[in-house]
Each structure stands twice: as structure tokens, then as C-alpha cells.
């Protein structure tokens, strides 16, 4: 189990340091693969058919469909140059590590878990969520904000399965559908922004000041 968690957090770090859009998407895909493996592992351990379905959906949506959709956007808009950073990779990485430390402290000090496995997986999921938020805030391209959102959602999924052994089945399905629809809608807006502004640099969207 720990090997998957390590994979997930390392992929989060690699997204923080990624300089190009394609590598950002690739890291997200690998992170989702680890998440899928972790879920599959749990499904085999608990022999629950519902978890198998959840793992299958995870594979279909987050490993295949969503990354493909996003890289399609990158190819169509021809914007693989860079993702536009407010902070350089090294500083970003330091902050990401610090966020992980904070999440760990938060988990051990404030939430009193009994099992060690729970502590670690919750700390990992919280820090992945925080790193997703970091990517959303400190990267300038609209597309990288979408990926930040997806990373946050990955962290959330992990938290749900680490804490409570997953949400109730139909809730899980509803959330998947919801995330999928949101990504499609995000994509439509990225096309719109690109058409109107001829770029998707969010830091330059400032028609509306005060």
C-alpha cells in the first residue's frame, strides 16, 4: 500500500516542478495510475465488487479520458511552450515539501488516528490536496488551473478511501460524473478564452478590476 502512496506524492512533486504542459499532464496521468492501483489493491483485499467498479471508473476517466482530453486541448491550441510560473521550480518544490510537513503535523497533532496506516494516508491525501491548490494559485495558464483542480480531487478521493474506506457507492459514482462534466466544461471555457483573448494566460485576465 505504501508504495502507491509514495508514487502519488512523488507525482505531486513532479507536477510542482514541471515546466511544460505535456509533462504536467503526463505526471497527472501517472498519479492517477497509482491511485487506480491503490484502489484495485483495496478491492482485492476486501473482495468488494463495488470497489472494482470504482477502480474501473477511475482507470477510464482519470487515466484515459481526462488526460487525453487535456492533451488534445494542448495540441489544438499549440501551447506546449511553458506553463508560466510565478515561482520557479526549486522554490515551488520547497513549498510543496513544507506543505507535506504541515499536513503531517496537522494529522498527527489534531486528528487522533489510531492506526499508523491511516495517519500516513490521510497526511498524503491532505498534502496532495494542498499541492493541487498551490498549482492552481501559482501557475498562470488556465489549463494548469484545471490540472490543479484535478490534483485536489485526487487528494480528496484518497482521503475518502483512507478515512472511511470510500464513500457510499452511488455517491462515488455521482462525484466521478460531476468531475468529468466539470472538466469538459472547463475545456469549453478554455477554448472560449483562447478565442477571445488569443492566449490562456490567467494572470493577464484583468479586464475586471474592482
Amino acid at each position: 500500500m505504501y508504495i502507491f502512496l509514495i508514487g502519488i506524492i512523488i507525482m505531486a512533486y513532479s507536477m510542482v516542478t514541471a515546466k511544460r504542459m505535456m509533462s504536467l499532464i503526463a505526471s497527472f496521468r501517472i498519479q492517477s495510475v497509482f491511485l487506480f492501483l491503490a484502489t484495485l489493491f483495496m478491492a482485492m483485499k476486501e473482495k468488494s465488487p463495488e470497489l472494482y467498479i470504482v477502480a474501473g471508473l477511475l482507470l477510464l476517466l482519470k487515466v484515459i479520458l481526462i488526460p487525453n482530453f487535456l492533451s488534445n486541448i494542448v495540441k489544438k491550441l499549440k501551447m506546449n511552450e511553458g506553463i508560466g510560473m510565478f515561482l520557479n521550480p526549486l522554490v515551488s518544490l520547497l513549498i510543496a515539501v513544507f506543505l507535506t510537513y504541515l499536513s503531517y503535523m496537522f494529522t498527527t497533532r489534531i486528528i487522533a488516528f489510531k492506526a499508523e496506516a491511516q495517519v500516513i494516508s490521510f497526511a498524503v491525501s491532505l498534502s496532495v490536496t494542498m499541492i493541487g491548490l498551490f498549482i492552481m494559485i501559482f501557475r498562470m495558464k488556465a489549463l494548469s488551473q484545471v490540472i490543479g483542480f484535478l490534483v485536489m480531487e485526487n487528494g480528496l478521493f484518497l482521503a475518502a478511501s483512507a478515512l472511511a474506506g470510500g464513500m457510499p457507492f452511488f455517491v462515488e459514482i455521482a462525484i466521478f460524473m460531476d468531475v468529468f462534466v466539470s472538466v469538459i466544461i472547463f475545456g469549453m471555457f478554455i477554448y472560449k478564452i483562447n478565442k477571445l483573448f488569443t492566449h490562456i494566460d490567467v494572470s493577464k485576465l484583468n479586464t475586471l478590476r474592482r
Binding site: 480531487e153 480528496l156 457510499p168 455517491v171 460531476d178 466544461i185 471555457f189 472560449k192 485576465l205 479586464t207
Partner: protein, 482 residues
């Protein structure tokens, strides 16, 4: 069973634009549909004994009934107002007929998702429905496809999505806390009954996540940054929906969690947070209202103020505070829609949004102008309009609890906003109209909308209908966990 009509009507109306091509026919059918919803639901709350539940998926108690009632009032008014507004947009070639049809589909999907929120039993389903409201309304915010509106829509969808992720995090922790005491369910009733035994620290953290997450959607400062942009750039009838009911729906979700939290850690914790967020919202909105130049942005900041007031009322608590807060939800929805419709008419007539360049509304559009003045007085809290009474109730609750500093600040900010709004809008309303401008004659459907909302906002200030009072009182009982 007629509760399902509420859900069926928007679904049918959402499909209708595929068949019917004329925007005007669509608009009329839309208005008729929502009139049926409003009448049907009023009849339902008069007759049925609450709570009722269906298939374990839907559960309607007084609190949800109250919010559904508010939604159905504002959606009806908006549907009625849209007929003429969209028709004029089409004839002035601002939007194509296909866009007008898309508008009606989106409008109905949006209101469907709003109706779903108070009906859902399951707290995760509440979350899904709230995310649906964001997704459907984002298109309505970016409806005109201008740079400003698409930018506003992007900001809206991104910030609210982040907020909603935090809310889901909070929901998961609540679920975990409940499953620790043996309740493996996200059903609100189950969670409330398990509330006493849950881990206190866990619940406190979870509630913070919920308050920040849904608070983003509710426009509580300092998470309000998307709100002025989205509300000012959205197509005007939708601004009324966003401001009138969407913000309140997020408050509804917070309330559901607050009940569980109060049961577990006592009232003190959530009240302090509500008071804090309320005061910050009041302060920030007061500052921005003073320096505001744009009419719809001013109204948007004014919504932040009112969300702050509702939050304060919930924080002051007790029967009086909660009563004031819930009553304020309805009053603000009614009055703010009236103001947004007025602003929509004025902006359409003058073709600009900057208040320094609009003069003499009273003489150029007498009907809208008069309604706008009355709405303004209601909005800033003059008697005999209903907002005055809900604000007074909240103030009474504050003083009654001995929270003199918070109540004093509340009064102070309200007075500042009172002056600022009066100053800004009287500049717009009075003065000489531009010489070459003809006097506007509003069409009947627009007039009916204004009169309908005006009657509501005045009547509620003069007398409280018995059924509404009953629903409010039993909602408060639910909030206090009786």
C-alpha cells in the same frame, strides 16, 4: 406526490427549446411553468404535514420547504421578466435566436439543480447538486461571450470549484466521524442522531472546511472575490437568480452541517464563526459600496452585505436571531431580484453601466424609476418594508445576547451602506434625463413582475402570513435540534 412536479417542470421546459423555435413562445411557457411550480408548492406547504420523504432520496422538512418556497418565488419572477428581456435582446440583434433558445435550456437546468439542493437527503447529493448549480450557471455568466463576461465566468467556475472541493473534504470528515460511532451513512437524519457521540475535534475541523467551502459559494468575505464579477457580468435576469437564491442555497447547506456540529460541540463554536464571517463581510462590502461606480457591481457588493447580515443573525442565534436570519433570506431574495430587474431595464435603456453617466431615470422611465426608488428604500432597510423588520430582529438578538461590540459594528456598517447606496442611486434617479431620450413604456409582463415583487416585499413588512410563520418557527426548531 405533487412535489415531483417541481422537478418535472424544469426538465420539460429544458427540453422544450429543441421543439419550439420562437423565443417569445418559449418565454411565456417558461413563465407559466414556474407559476405552476409556485402555486403547486404553496398549496403543498399549506396542505401537507411536514416532513415528507420519498424513496429515501428526497426529504422535505420545514427548513427545505422554506428554501424551496424562496426559490420558486424568484424563479417565477425571473421567468416572467426574461420574456421581454430576451425578446428585446433578440430584436436588437445582441443575441441570435439560437442563443435565446440556449438561454431557456440553461435557465431551466440551473433552476432544476437549485431545486434539487434542499430536497436531497444525502449530504453528498447536496454537494453534487451545488456543484451542478455552478456548472450550469457558468454558461449564463459568460452568456454574451464578451471578454469581460468570459473572464468573470472563468473566475466564478474556478474559485467556486476550489471552494466546493473544500466542502467535500469537510463532508468526508463528517462521514468519517459518523462512521466512527457506527453510522455508516451520509443521510442527514442519521448523522444528526449520531451527532452527540462524534469526536469533537474532528467535527470542529470538518465544520471549518464546510464553512470555508460553501461560504465561498455563499459569497461570505473574504472568499467573495468571484461574486462581484459574476453577478455584474451575468445576463441580468440571471443576476437576480444568482444573488437572490443561489447564495442562499449555499447557506442552506451550511445550516444542515451546523445542526450536526451544534449537536456535537455546542452552539458556541459555530456562532462565533458565523459572527466573525458576518462582520468581515459587512465591513468589506461597506468599503466597496462607497467607492463603487457600476450599478450592477454595487448591487453585487450589496449582496455580500446581506449575506453577512444573515450570517450574523445565525451567529447571534436564539429564536429571534434565527428567525431574523431566515426571514431575511426571503426578504433579500425578493427585494434584490426587484433591484436587479430595475437595473437591467435602466442599463438597457441608457446602454451603459457607469452610474456617473446615468441621470434622470425617474423622468425617462417613470415606472421602473419609481419601483427602483421603492426597492432601494426597502434594500437599505427602511420601514415599512420587510427587510427593516428582519434586520431589526437580528439587532435585537445581538443586544439580547449582550454582544454589544458585534451589534454596534453591525449597526455602524449598515448606516454607512445606507448613506452610500442612497447617495449613489439618488444621483442616478434624479436630475435631467438626456434631451434626446424618449420616455420608456415598459411592457405588461415586466410591470407584472415588478408589482408582484413589490407587493411581496411590502406585504411581508406589514403582516406575516400564518403559514410562513409556522414554517419559520418549525425551521428554527430544526435548527436548534429539537
Amino acid at each position: 406526490m405533487n412535489i415531483f412536479c417541481i422537478l418535472i417542470v424544469p426538465v420539460v421546459l429544458a427540453v422544450l427549446p429543441a421543439v419550439i423555435k420562437r423565443p417569445k413562445t418559449l418565454g411565456v411557457l417558461n413563465a407559466v411553468g414556474y407559476l405552476l411550480v409556485l402555486l403547486g408548492f404553496s398549496w403543498f406547504i399549506l396542505k401537507a404535514t411536514l416532513p415528507v420523504s420519498f424513496f429515501k432520496l428526497f426529504y422535505i422538512d420545514s427548513l427545505s420547504a422554506f428554501f424551496i418556497f424562496t426559490i420558486s418565488i424568484v424563479t417565477f419572477a425571473t421567468a416572467l421578466f426574461s420574456i421581454d428581456y430576451i425578446e428585446r435582446d433578440v430584436t436588437s440583434l445582441l443575441i441570435s435566436r439560437n442563443r435565446a433558445r440556449a438561454y431557456y435550456t440553461l435557465f431551466n437546468l440551473f433552476s432544476l439543480s437549485m431545486f434539487l439542493v434542499p430536497m436531497a437527503t444525502n449530504l453528498a447529493m447536496v454537494w453534487v447538486a451545488i456543484e451542478m448549480t455552478t456548472l450550469t450557471s457558468a454558461f449564463l455568466v459568460g452568456f454574451y461571450n464578451t471578454k469581460a463576461s468570459v473572464e468573470a465566468a472563468w473566475k466564478y467556475i474556478i474559485i467556486c470549484s476550489v471552494g466546493i472541493i473544500f466542502a467535500l473534504f469537510g463532508t468526508i470528515i463528517f462521514y468519517y466521524a459518523a462512521s466512527n460511532v457506527g453510522v455508516k451513512s451520509l443521510n442527514w437524519l442519521d448523522m444528526v442522531s449520531a451527532g452527540k457521540g462524534m469526536d469533537k475535534n474532528l467535527i470542529k475541523i470538518a465544520f471549518l472546511f464546510i464553512l470555508v467551502g460553501y461560504g465561498t459559494k455563499a459569497g461570505l468575505a473574504p472568499m467573495h472575490t468571484w461574486l462581484p464579477d459574476a453577478h455584474s457580468q451575468a445576463i441580468s435576469p440571471i443576476s437576480a437568480l444568482l444573488s437572490g437564491v443561489l447564495l442562499k442555497i449555499a447557506i442552506y447547506a451550511i445550516l444542515r452541517f451546523a445542526v450536526i456540529t451544534n449537536k456535537c460541540v455546542g452552539v458556541e463554536f459555530s456562532s462565533k464563526l458565523f459572527v466573525m464571517f458576518g462582520l468581515v463581510s459587512l465591513g468589506i462590502s461597506a468599503g466597496f459600496i462607497i467607492i463603487q461606480k457600476h450599478m450592477k457591481r454595487l448591487l453585487a457588493y450589496h449582496s455580500i452585505e446581506h449575506m453577512g447580515i444573515i450570517s450574523l443573525g445565525l451567529g447571534f442565534g436564539g429564536v429571534i436571531g434565527a428567525y431574523g436570519a431566515l426571514f431575511h433570506v426571503l426578504n433579500h431574495a425578493v427585494t434584490k431580484s426587484l433591484m436587479f430587474f430595475g437595473a437591467a431595464n435602466i442599463i438597457k435603456k441608457y446602454k451603459k453601466d457607469n452610474m456617473n453617466m446615468i441621470k434622470g431615470v425617474i423622468s425617462s422611465m417613470p415606472f421602473t424609476g419609481v419601483m427602483f426608488i421603492l426597492g432601494m428604500f426597502s434594500l437599505i432597510g427602511m420601514p415599512p418594508f420587510s427587510i427593516f423588520f428582519s434586520e431589526l430582529l437580528i439587532l435585537m438578538a445581538g443586544f439580547g445576547k449582550g454582544l454589544y461590540l458585534a451589534s454596534g459594528l453591525y449597526l455602524f456598517f449598515i448606516v454607512i451602506i445606507f448613506g452610500a447606496v442612497l447617495y449613489h442611486f439618488s444621483n442616478v434617479l434624479f436630475g435631467c434625463k438626456p434631451i434626446d431620450m424618449a420616455v420608456e413604456k415598459e411592457c405588461t409582463s415586466v410591470k407584472i413582475t415588478f408589482v408582484f415583487l413589490f407587493i411581496l416585499m411590502t406585504a411581508l413588512g406589514i403582516a406575516m402570513p400564518g403559514f410562513l410563520n409556522r414554517i419559520l418557527m418549525s425551521s428554527i426548531a430544526i435548527l436548534q435540534g429539537v
